[in-house]
Subunit: 114 residues, 2 copies
DNA sequence: TTCGCATATGCGCAAATGCGCATATGGGCG
DNA sequence: CGCCCATATGCGCATTTGCGCATATGCGAA
């Protein structure tokens, strides 16, 4: 029912927040997003090792994060490098940041975001 | 493993972000939180009518939100009034607000949070 | 107490989700 | 080419999750 039918751009569909939340609502995926939030690239083999997941599981989890638009992947020789999607719509990035921020165990009440 | 053993308050356990995300990652529950974000109280019968859910389903969904610490309930005669938990830890409220903010359909690219 | 409205819960079922195993695919190297 | 490493995917299985139905419980009114 595209509201902005006149829009030139491919109608920036407002991403379903529920889908974003579901993608993050799994321990391994959440931990993966936390790893990727260092801004760098990480291959599946590194993710699986650091997070203690099997190869197939980690690959599938990353696909879910990718489908949700939270990460991007890039083929580099025999590796696939994943990184946090820098082009996430603002509201989506806000969800991710808020979730990751709540995971910091240090602060028991203090400010988290900046 | 209570880190702040000296705390007088009942050790504000840092809530598991994944649990919060899971509580929100369901359409009916998400919509319920959106309804409650008007700051007011809403009984189950109102929630179920407005959201098109059956009574038992709505009751259970609200229990999940309550267990996650996102809402509080209050018995009022034959009704149970739910409202957004005003005592949510900051980081948790940040997740909820970010998620609800991403749901606003109006803004297709504009600023959402203030 | 009995009735009726509002809410919670036990139960079984169906769909979704996460997992491991095996295998396929992609790419570098000898 | 053959081999190996890294990643993706088909498949079956077990668990979780959401759902409706029926029923139990709470509460006010007659």
């Amino acid at each position: 029912m595209r509201i902005c039918a006149y829009a030139k751009q491919p109608v920036r569909t407002v991403p379903d927040p529920v889908k974003i939340l579901a993608a993050l609502a799994e321990p391994t995926r959440f931990a993966a997003m936390a790893m990727l939030s260092d801004g760098g690239e990480h291959c599946v083999c590194e993710l699986m090792r650091r997070l203690g997941a099997t190869q197939s599981r980690m690959s599938r989890h990353m696909k879910i994060l990718k489908d949700a638009g939270l990460v991007t992947d890039r083929r580099d020789a025999q590796w696939v490098r994943y990184r946090r999607n820098a082009a996430m719509p603002g509201p989506v990035a806000a969800i991710v940041d808020a979730a990751l921020g709540a995971a910091v165990p240090e602060n028991h009440g203090e400010r988290t975001a900046a």
